[in-house]
Amino acid sequence: MSETALATPEFSAAGRPAGRLRRRNWPAIIAWAVVLLILVLLPLYLPPGLLSAGQYVMVGAVGAIGLTLVFGQAGQLSLAHAFFLLVGGTAYSVLAGETTQAGAERIVGFGWPPLLALIGAVVITALFGLAFAPVAGRLKGIYLGIASLALVYIGFYLGRALPALTGGASSGRNPEPFSLFGFPFTNEGDIALFGVPLRQPERLWYLFLVVLVIGYLLAAGAMRGRVGRAWRAVRDHEAAAAAMGVNVLRAKAVAFAVSAAYAGLAGVLLVLWYGLLKPDESEFGNYGLNTSIAFLAMVLIGGLGSIPGAVAGALIVWGSQQILTLFAADLGLGTALSGFSPTVISLYVYGLAVIAVVLFEPGGLAAIGRNTVAALRGRRRSDMDSSGASGRRSAPPGKDGK
């Protein structure tokens, strides 16, 4: 069946130009450009509540991309995401803040420029992820999940035990507002776009959008190439991955570090959004088990391993929570103080979404998206996958994160 001659290792001249890598997918490029344009224009029209909800969703999306990389692509279940969020937020607050005296407590700060502090916080969180690597290398599946969950409780303890860094659970600390080369992401100064003044909420929106786009492209690019292939091989068959030259332990460690870095970045954005770093007073606060589970729900709903799916999952999980809270009165829901609060209701909403995904489309929104695109292109391509299996497959972890 060998149809072609195969020469020894030297590449045959320049090789084939590998057309598929150069072909541009114009419909997709145009679609993404439209989405980006909408996201750029949205803050000019949105009321403050929805603006804030959108920012929160973008924070969730950055974190969810990190989780879908480690869980969906590298196959390592992590429930430690909330902990890495706390590490990132704390690291930023410490690096960017000034040392202050709050009552009896001396709160430490290094006074770095915010951009440097943000990068520093991401690096520090990645190192925390790397420190977890020896555990990640030894455990698999749900056991790894439970072990990583321990970090959340360690974070819960440390948040209260180290008020010099976190400001303590009762008051927390105010993070330094972000600024870029002297441009503040606050209400300072007068700039406008199409006559709409850009104040703190709009500026933060654009900051978050830029961070999300960079994080998205970085993840998508890496998963398309060598690293993504190695991670998927580790997920699907460790022995085969090793036989092909992948250092399995190292791949797992890097996957955890990268995932933690994304969570740390989300943690920085979260304290900027909230204007406050506040460690939890109970196990179910901002950095508790519930947050880890919310991220898990995002990547499951979006489709394991899918990067656009993670963003869509964040929209559903954290978006529903914000929308329900915003419109609680209009919808006739209870207030935040009643037992059946909008936040609790949102738990039911995305809980049901997870169940629906598991029952009807294990590939999540990503598979639904893929199938829709396939159906749109349908007739022209139908003769290509004659087996019929490829189109109908609801493959959970899609190739190269699509």
């Binding site: 130009p17 022995a239 090793a242 036989a243 087996s387 190739k399």
Partner: protein, 276 residues
């Protein structure tokens, strides 16, 4: 399918294909002696088959060679390198490619993506350089994708390079596994039951492919196989294991007449003719 031109035992003209020596390898799992002082040599440029009845220790031996098991005693030496001293993932860079008995591919990834995994040890770059798609990363990716496409073409996979492996029939998926092992640019290719689960036509194709690729690339091939027709047809040399011991080692014609092999492996067959 091209005719098989290269006769067996042609050897190699390449000087970088080393000898693979299995040197008094023993392997014990608790009280079970899986391998007992097994020694044989895969000469450069030959197709060498390792056979034996079920439970003879073929897979154990194969896993020792490919670094998944560490031998209790003895050594595996490739040229000058003692393999068990290395971590398994270092073997690919030494020019050892292996395929798996049960297809060990990423089912949701495309054929090309799976084959490209074989280029891992030949390429560079981590999360950031890949993520930012730095020019040299993109160039490297393109270069290696072209070679991977060549290898796919050689194995008759050109028409499915963009298809997810999970959508392929078993026979083709099996060839993807071999293509991935070839993508390592091996000097010695280890094939673990390349014909397992294939029908007669596919088995004949696989046999021809193995002979062709050995001839085209001038490499050594070590295969573990159940299918006696395939083994006797293409192997230059056959080593036979039974209960963890090497009971015969020689050219197929001699091995098939060896009384101990006939007794252990082929049962009571009188003329040594092998059942397919």
């Amino acid at each position: 399918m091209t005719a098989t031109t290269a006769g067996p035992g042609t050897g190699t003209t390449r000087t970088d294909v080393p000898e693979l020596r299995i040197d008094a390898v023993s392997l014990r799992f608790g009280g079970i002696q899986a391998l007992d002082e097994v020694s044989f040599t895969v000469r450069p440029g030959t197709v060498h088959a390792l056979i034996g009845p079920n439970g003879a220790g073929k897979s154990s031996c194969f896993n020792v060679i490919s670094g998944l098991y560490r031998p209790t005693e003895g050594r595996v030496v490739l040229g000058e390198t003692v393999l068990p001293e290395l971590r398994p993932h270092r073997l690919a860079a030494l020019g050892i490619g292996r395929s798996f008995q049960n297809i060990a591919l990423s089912m949701h990834s495309t054929v090309l993506d799976n084959v490209m995994l074989g280029r891992h040890a030949l390429t560079h770059g981590g999360f950031l350089s890949g993520g930012f798609r730095l020019p040299w990363t993109v160039r490297e990716e393109r270069r290696h994708a072209a070679r991977a496409a060549e290898i796919c073409a050689f194995l008759g996979l050109s028409h499915v390079v963009e298809t997810p492996v999970g959508a392929l029939p078993y026979g083709l998926a099996k060839r993807v596994d071999v293509a991935r092992a070839l993508a390592v640019e091996p000097r010695i290719l280890l094939l673990d039951e390349p014909a397992a689960g294939l029908n007669a036509v596919e088995t004949a194709d696989m046999a021809a492919t193995i002979v062709d690729l050995r001839a085209a690339l001038d490499i050594s091939v070590l295969l573990v196989e159940h299918d006696m027709g395939l083994v006797m047809g293409i192997a230059d040399r056959v080593s036979v294991l039974d209960f963890g011991r090497l009971i015969a080692d020689g050219p197929p014609a001699a091995v098939r007449r060896d009384p101990e092999v006939v007794k252990a492996y082929l049962g009571t067959g009188e003329n040594g003719e092998c059942p397919r």
